[in-house]
Assembly symmetry: C2
Homo-oligomer: 341 residues x 2
């Protein structure tokens, strides 16, 4: 029997080990290991004996030991750029679901919207020997991701990636931007501004899509990109800086729903009505946008589905299948924040 000390003490040792269970059940440790891992091989009788002994002793498997010995962790690291953005919660739901079904754990980490923090989180993932990594809205440079991808399968959600060792699943953000601009243009808007996502994932593509759509619509002269960063604050700031001007935009297409809400806020505070005085289109169709009180016109991506697909791709890679880019179709969800100028 292993030393019976409380784990939290300085020289702690795991209270009950496999050896204890084996001894109590009158079998070998290897047999206990098999039972614990749910193997079919042990006889029903010995399985029952082992399980009973484990239960009685309060045995719990030591994952650190198991991981060290087996060299696999059955764990997927999931890096979420921003816990405050509901998009990540929705994506995580899908990912969690799929991973769990395949018997994998999810190791969550947040990047706090900072490439430096993300980089550190990825290091922790690698040190923790995760079997695969899913980065959502990741801000890391491609080279960094590629070098990580050389060690474990990496899939990016929300940001398209090209690279042999990397997979990605994202909606076609350029197309999404186009949908938004066309919608606004069709309503009669010409001064359509874009509040972008700065260095955030997908920001560059959405921005480029906006610019290209504006040009196609013959609105090249009205292209106006206001720097932002995927937060409400950024949206509010962007709107405050521009709503006061005589030639203020009549419509804003924003990098995501959070930014859109910030713009609406600022408009509200200025006494401008949405959509009568100013129209707003968001991006992501998070739960936020669907709230009746906000009722935001936005570009939808299949959020949870993207999490599911990303995990499936990783599981596939673990089975030797190649990583690819999966493009999802964005679609416009027209709600109450857009109207004719």
């Amino acid at each position: 029997m292993a030393v019976d000390r409380v784990r939290r003490s300085r020289d702690a040792v795991q209270r009950v080990t496999m050896d204890d269970v084996a001894a109590a059940a009158g079998v070998s440790r290897a047999l206990v290991s098999l039972v614990m891992r749910g193997s079919e091989r042990p006889s029903a009788a010995s399985r029952a004996a082992v399980l009973a002994a484990a239960e009685r002793l309060g045995y719990r498997r030591n994952l650190a030991a198991s991981r060290l010995a087996s060299l696999r962790t059955m764990t997927i690291g999931l890096l979420l750029d921003d816990l405050h953005n509901p998009w990540y919660a929705e994506l995580a739901d899908g990912a969690h679901d799929t991973a769990e079904k395949a018997g994998y754990h999810l190791l969550l980490a947040t990047g706090l919207r900072s490439a430096a923090v993300e980089s550190q989180a990825v290091d922790t993932f690698l040190a923790s020997q995760v079997d695969a990594i899913l980065v959502a809205g990741c801000r890391l440079p491609l080279e960094r991701l590629e070098s990580v991808g050389a060690e474990v399968p990496v899939v990016s959600a929300g940001r398209a990636l090209s690279g042999a060792m990397l997979g990605s699943v994202s909606a076609d953000d350029a197309e999404g931007a186009r949908l938004a601009v066309r919608h606004l243009h069709a309503l009669g808007h010409r001064r359509i501004a874009h509040v972008d996502g700065g260095k955030g994932a997908g920001a560059a593509t959405r921005r480029a899509g906006y610019v290209s759509a504006m040009r196609s619509a013959g609105l090249a002269d009205h292209v106006q990109v206001i720097p932002g960063d995927f937060t409400e604050k950024a949206g509010a700031r962007a709107a405050e800086r521009t709503l006061g001007r005589p030639d203020r935009p009549t419509a804003y297409f924003t990098a995501n729903d959070l930014v859109a809400v910030g713009v609406i806020d600022a408009a509200d505070r200025r006494g401008l009505r949405v959509p009568d005085d100013v129209s707003v289109v968001g991006y992501d169709n998070t739960a936020l946008a669907g709230l009746g009180h906000i009722d935001l016109t936005t570009v939808a991506q299949p959020n949870a589905e993207m999490g599911r697909v990303a995990v499936e791709m990783l599981l596939g890679a673990l089975d030797g299948r190649p990583l690819v880019h999966r493009a999802m179709r964005p679609r416009l969800v027209v709600r109450g924040t857009t109207g004719s100028p």
Copy 2:
């Protein structure tokens, strides 16, 4: 030199181990270990040699091995009940901050608003040998938490806990409820309904505080508790079920901001104006409440601060100090969703 195979292959072995680094630097493995853990003992020269060799070989410490050998993981498990609720993001920010500063990692997990999922997450924490556990908005029964608390320090955030082996940090929810009811009563409301949080953390206390405050205000006859569960949907459902009645509530005090937003939504859809036709008070003062467009009157708790305090308490416990209950003062933030009936 260890076998040079790619980690992801079936019979993978860690590419570069401490032995490799030691050999390359011309020192012993123990010395490398000391350097890697940032000890002061090795000489500057050998430290530099080790670091250079590690860099050159692309060495990365194997946390599984390190944890197994050291019997501590420098990791705190943080269980968040619901990623969709911004309250948890705010709490996690504070917790992350404090943990990081103390050199601890955070192991995040989500409970998906389900006691069963939470229970499993806690098992994973224990199996992962986390040094301590912080549960936020936890739904587990007290007995379960106590038995976990017997193994590692456990602190609950957002739900007051009594138990020798358990700590907690929460605002005084009964007092918070009282603040809300008094505010509404002072505005002239009598039919004040409460949409509760069901089995969620803090729900019972907020409910009890509401009932007691109603009685104190002489409104015992108007006590009306509508079952909910801390989501927008629950709020909307609760409002839909009650707003149509002739004696409908003139004010709703809700279990949290999400529920409040749901109530506002439902009122909106019914064509009722907030606060002219119906007043709403939320709880938590999440970023959501502060959005100008929502502008929710709510009971504030120091969200990030609670995360900080909780982690500090855990770190203290790891140093032998006792776990306690820390009650934070709630305060009412009056915004635009409350007015006279």
